[in-house]
């Protein structure tokens, strides 16, 4: 099995644009900025909708479901003390051109992982809730297996 991520989580600097994203996981819900005019999800957060230029934007919940677009297993200990971990690039179900880099957890990183359905699980680190993703399980959902969820 692989680690869930690096030994030390380097964290985002929270600001007025990104705070909702990085702290939203406190209630277990992944959110993206969305345009109230044209309904596009917008990522990373910016002050105006890049599609229609409206400034009527607000964070909205998404399902937390996504598809693995690509991944890599990192072996190099850039961050001392780290065991190999899986970096994923996932496309969210609601709008697949919105992608997140993440860590893929509870999975075997073989060539069949790309295209796999995954779901968000949050890992709390300081005041930040990092959205990690695991394969969608066929077992009954078991919330609370991870901190912050």
């Amino acid at each position: 099995m692989f680690a869930n991520g690096p030994a030390i989580r380097l964290l985002p600097r929270l600001d007025v644009d990104n705070r909702f994203f990085w702290t939203g996981g406190a209630d277990g819900i992944l959110r993206f900025l969305r345009c109230r005019s044209c309904r596009q999800f917008i990522h990373p957060p910016v002050p105006r909708c890049p599609a229609c230029l409206s400034d009527r934007l607000a964070p909205e919940p998404v399902s937390g479901r996504a598809t693995v677009h690509s991944f890599t297993v990192n072996y190099q200990a850039w961050i001392p003390g780290s065991d190999p971990y899986v970096i994923g690039l996932v496309a969210i179900d609601e709008q697949p051109d919105v992608r997140l880099m993440t860590n893929l957890v509870d999975c075997e990183p073989d060539d069949t992982l790309v295209g796999r359905a995954v779901e968000v699980v949050f890992e709390q680190s300081d005041d930040v809730f990092l959205p990690l993703f695991r394969p969608v399980s066929t077992l009954p959902d078991d919330p609370g297996t991870r901190s912050g969820r």
Partner: protein, 402 residues
């Protein structure tokens, strides 16, 4: 476009390169001056003739040894009197400095532009140790990150190799890319490096060596990553009218590739298998009547091996997703193959001169000055490409005026 593109008014009339090696222990300004003076002399000029100066990325950017000296430092060291000067990192990759020089010449802002790129990453890493990130320990709070890095660093995607590995794995998924295919870029580089006295790694390497190397970030192993080094490369980009008076054959700029039409992002770009190379290459072919079949030699950025394969497709030497079969076995891209690739060894074996080593080699080959590694077939047209991910620029050079 009405009339020939502006860059046809520019030609590379002089080239120079400093000593290249690991931990040379020389300052980056020292290396830069060595390369610059060689290029100026090669162009049959003196420093009094140089009225333009350009570099990538300008002073201070990146980690130790990455940036090299800025233009003010070089201008002052050579006491140049400049009509035009430019240094910066945003633009069509490392090539931006050369392309800016071409446009400055076409605009009449300068007649002879000295362009250089210097790295001293090997010495810097030797002095500082190869620093991990965030593991300094001992008190001090760990910094936090904004901009793109906030989306990658929390997940341990801390290096360009991680970001480019995502391109690689996507290609495994979409195109069935194999490690044996990917290996050909590295093995080709090593074969050619054996004929390059300045190359960092010259000892023979076989497929077994490649396959046995440790993984860095799958599917990229150690030999898919280029070799940090110290060295400086310089070019004189002149008004093409000067070319007949230059003592050495000039390399004419036929077309530049500068476009970035997808999102400028490592993770949001629409096509993760190509990224910006697709756009830069497309825009280059829009500016010339030459076609991929006219190209004799290619020098394609191999900061990571996979990027050279991305460029082969983007530039149209094979179809999208077909670079794996294209390089299979290595004969097609070999020195005596139909499309010789990275004839000095590329960055994987000759050292990470950050795109400018490739540019220098393209000029050497077009001139016929490649020595033991000179391409024996036709060498009239060369394509050079720099960059990876959302960063890309390309250049089409011809031996005679276009």
């Amino acid at each position: 476009m009405s009339g020939p593109p502006a860059e046809r008014r520019a030609a590379i009339t002089g080239i120079g390169q400093s000593a290249v090696g690991r931990r040379l222990g020389r300052t980056d300004l020292d290396l830069t001056l060595e390369a610059c003076l060689e290029a100026v002399a090669d162009a049959g000029l003196s420093r009094d003739d140089i009225d333009g100066l350009a570099t990538y990325p300008g002073a201070g950017l990146g980690t130790g040894g990455f940036a090299g000296p800025g233009t003010p430092e070089v201008q002052d060291a050579l006491r140049l009197r400049l009509n035009w000067h430019d240094g910066g990192a945003e633009g069509p990759g490392q090539m931006r400095a050369v392309i800016a020089a071409c446009f400055a010449i076409a605009a009449g802002a300068a007649r002879h532009v000295l362009v250089y790129r210097t790295v001293s990453e090997s010495t810097a890493q030797g002095e500082g140790g190869r620093q991990g990130i965030g593991g300094s320990g001992g008190g001090g709070s760990v910094p936090r990150f904004s901009g793109f890095l906030q989306w990658s660093l929390p997940f341990g995607a801390v290096s360009a190799v991680n970001w480019i590995a995502l391109v690689g794995q996507r290609r495994v998924h979409e195109f069935g890319l194999t490690r044996e295919q990917l290996a050909q870029v590295a093995l080709n580089g090593r074969r050619n490096a054996a004929l390059n006295p300045k190359a960092i790694y010259r000892e023979p390497m076989g497929l077994d060596d490649y396959l046995a190397a440790r993984m860095i970030s799958s599917p990229l192993c150690l030999y898919d990553c280029d070799a940090p080094c110290d060295g400086s490369t310089a070019l004189v980009v002149s008004d093409a009218n000067y070319a007949p008076d230059s003592p050495r054959p000039s390399c004419h700029v036929n077309a530049v590739g500068t476009a970035l039409r997808g999102r400028p992002s490592w993770d949001q770009f629409d096509d993760m298998t190509s990224m910006a190379a697709r756009d830069a290459a497309a825009s280059m072919w829009e500016r010339t009547e030459l076609r991929p079949a006219d190209v004799d030699i290619v020098q394609l950025y191999d900061g990571f091996s996979i990027l050279a394969m991305v460029w082969l497709e983007a530039l149209g030497f094979c179809g999208r997703g077909e670079s794996g079969p294209f390089v299979e076995g290595g004969t097609r891209i070999a020195l005596d193959g139909e499309l010789p690739l990275n004839t000095a060894g590329g960055q994987l074996s000759a050292g990470r001169l950050h795109g400018f080593g490739l540019l220098h080699e393209a000029c050497l080959q077009l001139r016929g000055d490649g020595g033991a590694r000179q391409v024996q077939g036709r060498h009239e047209v060369a394509a050079v490409a720099n960059g990876g991910g959302p960063i890309a620029g390309s250049l089409l050079l011809t031996r005679g005026p276009g």
